[in-house]
Symmetry: C2
């Protein structure tokens, strides 16, 4: 029945989908988002424009952008059932990603044949509200209601802090959200496509993807890179600290990537965004320290493992940028989800159009002819 019985347990090298959403070239260090080189799109677009690009295939014009912004803004408030569940989750002190998965599972959408992209709006609009409301509840505060007059990024920061962010912060967050919105068939995106391939609904696809994103092997955990910078504390300590770590055979968090063999293009975009964000003095000391740690780490890695070509990865600058936006580390992965959910939804739409069940084979390795033995004789 199987064409071949080679077991590809990680599906490495197996091409499971054609996509017009993003293209990753690890050897060249290139990432294309729906036609745009990342560096062309991320620092320029608002996140709403990126949503339009991924769900509709092009950038919105002066008519369609306000419409999309308004639809998203109007859909931000959470149903009472969802908010109640978040309150219970906070009482149980659940991790933020568990709370997000639970709460996202209570969302309800309706397919829209005339304009399929509309179905994604309540999800993309409410994931930030869920994350922000849970963060408030988990830290003993009341949730802050969304504001319909703010853009997607500004409103998210508002719901976290209660104050309206300045333009630099909004630009920083938009750039971050644009940068991590899609990245080929990573495990969470693939999960969304497998679920969608059965003809299931959009919320099921997103909930499954949140579950996959939670896993530590997914690679969306920027916290540890920043923890290391904090631990080092001052520039003088960087070299000694890093040398010791490398001598103990430990991995340096924030460096190296499974796919990128040269510098991760997302790291470049986020490095530039960080530089701009920290220009105005917000916690500039930590920024300068991080840059120092980075250059020391790269020098030591090149010295010790030149063949590995290890480079700063997206986690390093994600951590720095999100710290510059005053986000605590426990919000890093949920904020990644605020962006990536838009990619998941885009892939679900694309998978629907492909219309094909994803159903691999397995090879059975167990016994075949056991006979039943009643319990008295076992």
């Amino acid at each position: 029945m199987n064409d071949e019985m080679i077991v590809r347990s990680g599906l490495e090298g197996v091409v499971a989908a054609s996509t017009a959403l993003s293209g990753v070239d690890g050897e060249a260090g290139e990432l294309v988002i729906a036609g745009f080189p990342l560096a062309e799109l991320a620092p320029n677009a608002t996140f709403e424009e990126t949503i339009h690009l991924l769900w509709k295939g092009d950038l919105p014009d002066a008519d369609s952008l306000p419409d999309l912004r308004e639809s998203l803004a109007a859909a931000r408030a959470l149903p009472p059932m969802t908010l109640q569940l978040l309150r219970e989750a906070a009482t149980l002190r659940l991790p933020a990603m568990d709370a997000l998965r639970m709460a996202a599972g209570t969302l309800i959408t309706t397919p829209n044949d005339a304009d399929p992209a509309r179905e994604g709006i309540p999800i993309a609009a409410r994931v930030p509200t869920i994350v922000a409301a849970y963060h408030r509840l988990a830290s003993g505060h009341d949730p802050i209601a969304p504001r319909a007059d703010l853009g997607h990024s500004a409103n998210y920061l508002h719901m976290l802090t209660g104050s309206e962010p300045d333009a630099a912060a909004v630009r920083g967050l938009d750039t971050y959200l644009n940068t991590v919105v899609d990245h080929g068939l990573n495990a969470s995106t693939f999960t969304a496509r497998v679920i969608t391939s059965t003809g299931s609904d959009l919320v099921s696809a997103v909930v499954g993807a949140v579950g996959a994103l939670k896993g530590p092997l997914h690679g969306g955990a920027p916290g540890p890179a920043l923890d290391m910078v904090f631990e080092i504390g001052t520039a003088e300590r960087a070299e000694g600290y890093l040398r010791e770590k490398l001598e103990r055979g430990e991995r340096l968090m924030g460096f190296g990537h499974r796919i990128y063999k040269v510098r991760d293009p997302r790291a470049d975009v986020l490095a530039e965004a960080s530089e701009k964000l920290f220009e105005d003095g917000r916690d500039r000391a930590i920024y300068l320290l991080a840059r120092d740690v980075e250059s020391t780490a790269l020098r030591l890695l090149a010295e010790r493992k030149p063949e590995r070509r290890l480079q700063t990865n997206v986690e390093f600058y994600t951590a720095l940028l999100l710290h510059g936006l005053s986000l605590p580390t426990e919000l890093f992965t949920p904020t990644f989800a605020v962006s990536r959910v838009v990619g998941w939804i885009a892939h679900a739409f694309e998978q629907r159009r492909a219309g094909r069940l994803i159903r691999p084979q397995s090879v059975y390795t167990g016994a075949r002819d056991n006979r039943w033995i009643p319990i008295e004789r076992r």
Copy 2:
């Protein structure tokens, strides 16, 4: 970077896992469950024994079976948060599988390194409670509390109806649950493995799998086969009805399977179980009619499409057996989940031991060099 650029959009013929849990041979019409040919296991085991077999690798002995039964029985009651969510879902008249996905998402488990299988117990124990409680709520009744003195199958039927089922019904349900507990890398099981492969938790894997099972292409929809029997109504009408349907080019629900080219071994086991269940007179008229519809359908299919070798599939007898247990059609897919969740959990455990991220490739088909255009010029 890719070994090959052949797009395998359904992953057909790609072997994505080695498993000792189940082996499907579609050409031979054979299904092995953890060492036992299906016909050897399904009519003999209680569902608790099958759980032990799949999670621990062997049948329980006289010491371990009572322990497993008690652990499952003790874990059946739902947390207040889960029950509250089901009440809300019933108010919104959500489909049963949506309610199941939402409610399953609120379960919480703790990994147990000393005895990994224990982590599955609260999920396997509570999925039947969720399904039964929601069925009661959706039909305007209060949920019925689980009874710890009953086995898994007996308690499920008790929670649905409020009365203790007779031995024939319990045997019928045990046989059904054993029969559909695992079936290679179907889309929901594969979803559970992809999510687990990121290092994520067991509840995330199960919730993702429920989402995949919901999809109509998953193939777990036995309702329509029975609807057809009801529509036919009397044996004399069978041939005319079926001929007309075939002449209109319609598919006969309950016949043919994507994988099995001969008779689905699950259909045989469930046919025998149905025969026994209907022996004592419960709705025997519908049983006889169904057998008549089956033989007429097989005769017509052999006449018209001999090359297709179409046979009665698992859905046909699932529908008949579950009807014999007085389950309404809206409970068919959720009851499938009551069984299959045990297979999902077994695969999650197996995937944890494999310890490898499942991460296929995609091929990018879009443009690459678009330049940013400000909105005023679009």
